[in-house]
């Protein structure tokens, strides 16, 4: 057996060499951190006696009660009756449904004013999984994390179920129709979410034509749409930028998180294309990111400059001036000396360069980028004519509306999919204005903050329950078709509501959508035939918006009005949360439990700041206490600060974020929600609670409630809704707040888990990834007898020969150069494999159940001073970031298999490391013996008390696991077996790509490739022959089926002194090869 020493990053890297670290405590090898490294289960994870506060029964008390009850049960054998199970066939079977075979329907998900093209898997009429539509020009089979999680919004047990009137009394849709008829000619304002739906826009026009006193205001909860305003400023009319990063040689982002923000799926794919390197001769783009928070896009950057959001415009001005666009101004001239400015200018002059500015940047910077793109973009940025009316800053429109509501100048306010009481700037006093409005109608999915104050609330149908339409980011017309009837009878879609408002009549959503298509002449030929084709495909090809020739370059906005940030002032930047967005996903348990892509925080809102800023605020950051607080068995205890802006205060725990600019604080929206639920939460009996902890997160009420309780970041926004607040007051309120973060979970002790090199290093030494590990006794790892060699042919091993029932041998590669850590795969895995949500308390004990986790490593050059290594300061360097999806490696010599006393985990003839739940007795030996820490154990029965609606989200092809059972990634064995069954019935072989795992299917960058490694022509086999390929901990000779392709960087040689080769990063391990 080979044993490796326990290492920490400080042991591994010599001075001046790159060091990979998971957290600040990891970097400093803090007290308590060793315990996480050494143990598979965190101290306290296995028995509560080690750590108090777990509300569940301890193992000992459980055994006592269990023993007694077994004895009682034995007397009567009352439990030994066979349960009667019923089979309920259809009375009239729908033609297209075959029980047991899922159907896939094409539909689209609207969000943020455009739609994504999706395929929805439906089991006997019950949608269970969202996938990207492979034929859709934007999605091409992939989705973002929001689309993956949106299926749980459908089954949210806290959705509002009934129509409701503030003064009480039962109301139904007929009452609403009567009400709508009384609104003819009244002063009506519709406050609606941004939409691209031609039907909504048609009904809007119809409503405005029928009622001249009506007005329509578009409201984005996530904040001002500065991108549209800025492009409009540059071009003189509203245009939408479409980035073709694959054509770019240089990409510059001014605080734009384009890999996880708007149109993330296409952006990520295009970006990954520009970085796809399979041969040393391939080229890759260079990414500069200047940003005010650490985002996944910043993590992909070759050069990242942390900078206050308020300073970035001047940086942009300096770059523009260097390229001969506009004036740098006084502040810009100071920036001009920045080496990165000069590097960008140089690169931009050399080749196609794309400039992207994010929503935190004022319209002037957006306009500047449009000008720059026109000059050096080389056509890589297309500007699309969306046909929208000129945009008005929504801050102004909202201010006016709030004034009018307060003075009674509005008779009725209709709110569609918006929650202004929660996220409108507090200076508008929207709640008070709303209460004074005689009639307000709210259409939304929850009894949320606005719904409770509105005089009418109508439950909103989920997009999987309604007819509708919309345009994708590039304009492709897509149809939303329902996959299930509304779960609640009262639920209605926005087009049904609008149509009733406009006409006073009821028209079905189906007819409304068809009417739009007819009116706009979108379909040619026989309407019914074309309509059916449209429903089948989900979209109409060639309906993209027209591209404006010559780009948007025109007038350059003036930066003169922008204020230079005051030296030392604490800036606050409010961003949409990468998981909650603007709060739309707050009650989604998958999203709450999903670790943030960068901080890895779950179930909490945090205020991110740099270590220097924290020190300035007297938040203890001395050696021995980290992440703002002491680390104890993997938990982080931190201070809570009060952030005050203009009389509004929010309280948030501090998160010290390496690479965050100083004097700036990042807060995210979507927390501090207060939802009301109509769900009946039954009290469980004392006995039930003794046997089984209240394990399910839905029990205390809506999941969103109480998460970041006083942390509604939207309260900090100014009256104009701006996301950047130049100066805020921050004071420490309390200490010792527990933040559940997974950043140290599953750490592998600083071994060369992630391998990276610069493009130049790769060209010089193609095999750098392979050479990263020292050989044992001068024998390279590759020389050890493989089960699966380079030639990828099945071995002539009698153990395999006879038992082989399929010709396939499954394997996977993950390209770290493409993965941006967007988390879509993590949620896709959760949805596909019925992975349970465990809640904050359990996550802090290291009991989260994610089969696929996204490990995030910081990379920096090691110096003597940990603070310097960590990278602090505006002009100081920032640590780099690498994302690594981690799941079961499906080892050929799997250490888990050899220690299972009951053979519950074993090897399949097609190379899977199979986990048989019904055999597992929960010894957890396998988990303790897994070097990759990828096995997850069910400490409680998470499913027993789940609300019925949430149970409907389960995939019927995957066993729901019980308490006391180990589980892990199966390579989506249900999909493999399903495809094999079909191939078997059809009496044919299988083709490459026929089986796609859930993570692979949804990956926007195609980083994950799965297939048959015994087929030398399969994509996975080809990638396995790539020189960047390596396996994790290959020195243990476990021979994983999962290979990674090492990360590459393309730094500007001007900015980076050539480093020594990243080799010999670890001492020779102690070992004993006799048994290997």
């Amino acid at each position: 057996m080979i044993e490796l020493d326990i290492l920490s990053p400080s042991d591994v890297a010599a001075d001046g060499q790159p060091t990979f670290w998971r957290s600040r405590s990891d970097l400093r090898n803090a007290a308590g951190h060793q315990a996480i490294l050494k143990n598979e289960f965190h101290p306290g994870a296995t028995d509560r006696s080690e750590l108090d506060g777990d509300p569940g029964p301890s193992r000992r008390s459980f055994m006592k009660i269990m023993g007694a009850s077994m004895a009682l049960a034995g007397v009567g054998l009352s439990g030994c009756r066979r349960p009667v199970e019923n089979v309920l066939p259809y009375a009239r079977k729908p033609e297209e449904i075959v029980p047991g075979i899922p159907n896939f329907y094409a539909t689209a998900m609207p969000m943020g004013g455009y739609v994504q093209g999706l395929l929805v898997e439906s089991h006997e009429g019950r949608p269970t999984k969202i996938e990207g539509n492979p034929e859709h020009p934007i999605n091409r089979g992939a989705t973002d994390v929001f689309a993956q999680a949106s299926i749980l919004n459908l089954y949210d047990p806290d959705r509002s179920r009934r129509m409701r009137r503030r003064e009480g009394g039962e109301v139904n849709w007929n009452d609403f129709i009567t009400l709508a008829r009384t609104l003819r000619g009244r002063r009506l304002v519709v406050l609606a979410e941004p939409t691209s739906s031609p039907t909504v826009l048609r009904l809007r026009d119809q409503l405005l034509a029928a009622n001249p006193n009506a007005r329509w205001i578009t409201y984005r909860g996530a904040g001002e749409d500065t991108v549209s305003l800025g492009v409009q400023e540059a071009a003189g009319r509203p245009l939408r930028p479409l980035y073709r990063f694959s054509q770019a040689q240089t990409i510059v982002s001014f605080d734009a998180d384009f890999l996880s923000g708007e149109n993330a799926v296409m952006n990520a794919r295009e970006y990954a294309e520009s970085r796809r390197v399979l041969e040393p001769t391939d080229t890759m783009s260079r990414l500069y990111v200047i940003e005010s928070a650490y985002t996944p896009t910043g993590g992909m950057a070759d050069h990242r400059v942390p900078m206050k959001a308020g300073s970035i415009p001047f940086f942009a001005a300096a770059v523009a001036a260097g390229l001969g666009v506009g004036e740098a101004g006084a502040a810009g001239q100071l920036m001009a000396a920045h080496p990165v400015v000069q590097a960008i200018v140089e690169d931009a002059q050399a080749g196609t360069t794309v400039f992207v500015a994010g929503p935190t940047q004022p319209p002037a910077v957006q306009a500047l980028c449009a000008r720059l793109n026109a000059q050096v973009g080389g056509g890589a940025v297309q500007y699309l004519d969306t046909g929208a009316e000129a945009a008005v800053p929504q801050g102004l429109a909202l201010q006016q509306l709030a004034r009018e509501l307060g003075t009674g100048a509005v008779d009725a306010l209709v709110m569609i999919g918006v929650n202004p009481v929660y996220d409108a700037p507090p200076a508008l006093r929207f709640a008070e204005a709303l209460e004074r409005t005689p009639l307000s109608i709210h259409l939304g999915p929850h009894l949320d903050e606005t719904a409770r104050l509105a005089t009418w609330h109508i439950p909103r149908a989920h997009y999987l329950e309604q007819w509708g339409d919309g345009r994708a980011y590039d304009g492709t017309y897509s149809v939303i078709q329902p996959v299930i009837a509304p779960l609640y009878e009262d639920a209605h879609s926005e087009i049904e509501l609008l149509s009733t408002l406009a006409t006073g009549e009821v028209t079905a959503g189906y007819d409304l959508v068809r009417e739009t298509i007819r009116e706009q002449g979108l379909l040619s030929g026989s309407f019914e035939d074309a309509w059916r084709t449209l429903l089948h495909n989900g979209f109409l090809p060639n309906t993209q918006y027209a591209t404006v020739a010559g780009g948007a370059g025109g007038a350059t906005g003036s930066l003169a009005r922008l204020l230079v940030p005051v030296e030392g002032a604490l800036e606050v930047v409010v961003r949409p949360d990468p998981k909650m967005h603007d709060g739309f996903f707050s009650n989604n348990a998958w999203m709450q439990e999903l670790p943030d892509p960068v901080t890895k925080v779950t179930w909490d809102a945090v205020a991110q700041m740099s270590a220097a800023t924290a020190a300035r605020l007297d938040i203890d950051t001395v050696e021995g206490s980290f992440e703002g607080g002491p680390v104890e068995a993997g938990n982080v205890y931190t201070s809570v600060v009060a952030i005050s802006v203009g009389g509004q205060t929010v309280e948030l725990p501090v998160w010290i974020q390496p690479g965050h600019p100083d004097d700036s604080v990042t807060v995210t929206m979507g927390f501090g929600r207060e939802l009301e639920t109509e769900r009946l939460i039954e009290d469980r009996g004392l006995l039930a609670r003794l046997f089984d902890k209240d394990a399910d997160v839905y029990r205390p009420g809506p999941v969103a409630n109480g998460i970041g309780a006083k942390g509604n970041a939207a309260l900090l926004r100014g009256a104009d809704g701006s996301a950047v607040i130049p100066a805020a007051e921050i004071a420490v309120v309390s200490d010792g707040y527990l933040v559940a973060t997974t950043q140290d979970h599953g750490s592998m002790e600083g071994r060369p888990i992630v391998r990276m090199a610069t493009l130049d290093e790769y060209r010089a030494d193609e095999d750098f990834a392979r050479d990263a590990v020292e050989p044992i006794d001068d024998v390279p790892w590759q020389a050890y007898p493989p089960i699966w060699g380079e030639e990828n042919t099945p071995p002539a091993d009698p153990r395999f020969g006879e038992a082989m029932y399929s010709d396939q041998q499954w394997g996977m590669t993950i390209d770290l150069n493409a993965c941006s850590g967007c988390n879509a795969c993590v949620v896709a895995c959760q949805s596909e494999n019925n992975i349970m949500v465990v809640g904050k308390d359990q996550v802090s004990r290291g009991r989260e159940m994610h089969w696929l986790r996204m490990d995030r490593y910081y990379v920096s050059e090691r110096t003597d001073d940990p603070f310097e290594t960590e990278g602090v300061g505006e002009f100081g360097h920032s640590p780099m970031m690498v994302m690594q999806p981690m799941m079961c490696q499906h080892c050929e010599y799997a250490p888990c298999e050899s220690v299972c006393p009951v053979a519950a985990t074993s090897h399949s003839p097609d190379g899977l490391n199979e986990m048989t739940y019904n055999r597992c007795i929960g010894t957890r030996y396998c988990s303790n013996n897994c070097p990759y820490k990828v096995r997850r154990f069910n400490f409680y029965n998470w499913t027993k008390t789940l609300p019925l609606t949430t149970q409907m989200a389960m995939n019927p092809d995957v066993t729901v696991r019980f308490r006391g059972v180990m589980e892990k990634c199966t390579f989506c064995v249900q999909r493999i077996r399903g495809a094999q069954h079909v191939a078997h019935i059809e009496n044919r072989g299988m083709s490459d790509g026929e089986v796609q795992t859930a993570c692979q299917q949804t990956c926007p960058t195609n980083a994950i490739v799965f297939g048959d490694i015994s087929d030398p022509d399969s994509r996975v086999s080809q990638l396995k022959r790539n020189s960047r390929r390596y396996e994790l901990l290959e020195e243990l000779l476990t021979k994983p089926r999962l290979s990674y392709l090492a990360r590459l960087r393309n730094p500007n040689p001007r900015l980076e002194a050539p480093r020594r080769k990243p080799e010999t990063v670890q001492p020779v391990p102690t070992h004993d090869l006799d048994e290997a």
Partner: protein, 223 residues
């Protein structure tokens, strides 16, 4: 002083020992037999909401299994027929029968008939009917002589060992896929030793030619 224990009490320890041993063995035998699916699963014969007779339909009338279990060749599940399937005939035949009242009720209301499941597999075991039908495993091999059952009962123990018996010796159960629904075929081929030997030989040849290799690994069924 008199002896407290008579002399024959000396045998007590030995008797106790053997008694305990024998009792233990009996207990093991009891559990072995009575706690096994062979005992408590086989023969399960619940009362159905409609007194549907397979003996009449499949036996006397000779209807093919797939007329009602229509998706057995495509789907992992051999579907229970929808009410519509019943009404195809019973709209005209016996259209006023009292026994068929639940069927007509279901047809009128759209509410499903609540049949009681007879052959039950646990949720962690996935059994694809279609693949077994495609390769030529007769219905009767698992479900018995359905054509002779007025009320259906469970024939096989549906335990994993029982599944594996066949997976290890597929030549004993294979038949021409055209004949999967033929009842009594298993008895026909076993009529004489000679016919059975010929049957086995033919199957072995087919297994070799088509590479039939029923899986025996865990994740073939458990996932």
């Amino acid at each position: 002083m008199a002896q407290l224990f008579p002399r024959k009490a000396n045998t007590f320890p030995a008797l106790t020992l053997f008694g305990a041993l024998g009792g233990g063995l009996l207990l093991i035998a009891f559990v072995w037999y009575y706690f096994s699916p062979k005992f408590y699963e086989v023969g399960y014969q619940p009362t159905q909401p409609v007194p549907y007779s397979h003996a009449l339909h499949a036996g006397q009338l000779g209807m093919d299994c797939r007329y009602c279990h229509s998706h057995v060749e495509q789907s992992p599940y051999a579907n229970i027929p929808s009410t519509q399937t019943c009404m195809n005939c019973h709209g005209q035949i016996k259209s006023e029968s009292l026994a068929l009242l639940p069927v007509r009720e279901s047809w009128a209301t759209g509410e499903p008939i609540e049949w009681v499941q007879v052959n039950h597999l646990p949720d962690y075991a996935h059994f694809p009917h279609a693949n077994h039908v495609a390769v030529g495993i007769g219905c009767e091999s698992c479900h018995g002589r359905i054509d002779q059952m007025p009320v259906v009962y469970q024939v096989g123990p549906m335990s994993m060992g029982w599944c594996l018996e066949c997976h290890r010796n597929p030549e004993e159960s294979l038949r021409d896929p055209e004949l999967v629904t033929r009842m009594g075929y298993n008895d026909e081929v076993r009529e004489t030793d000679e016919s059975y030997r010929a049957y086995l030989a033919a199957n072995r040849a087919r297994i070799a030619a088509e590479g039939i290799n029923p899986p025996e690994n865990c994740s073939a069924c458990h996932y």
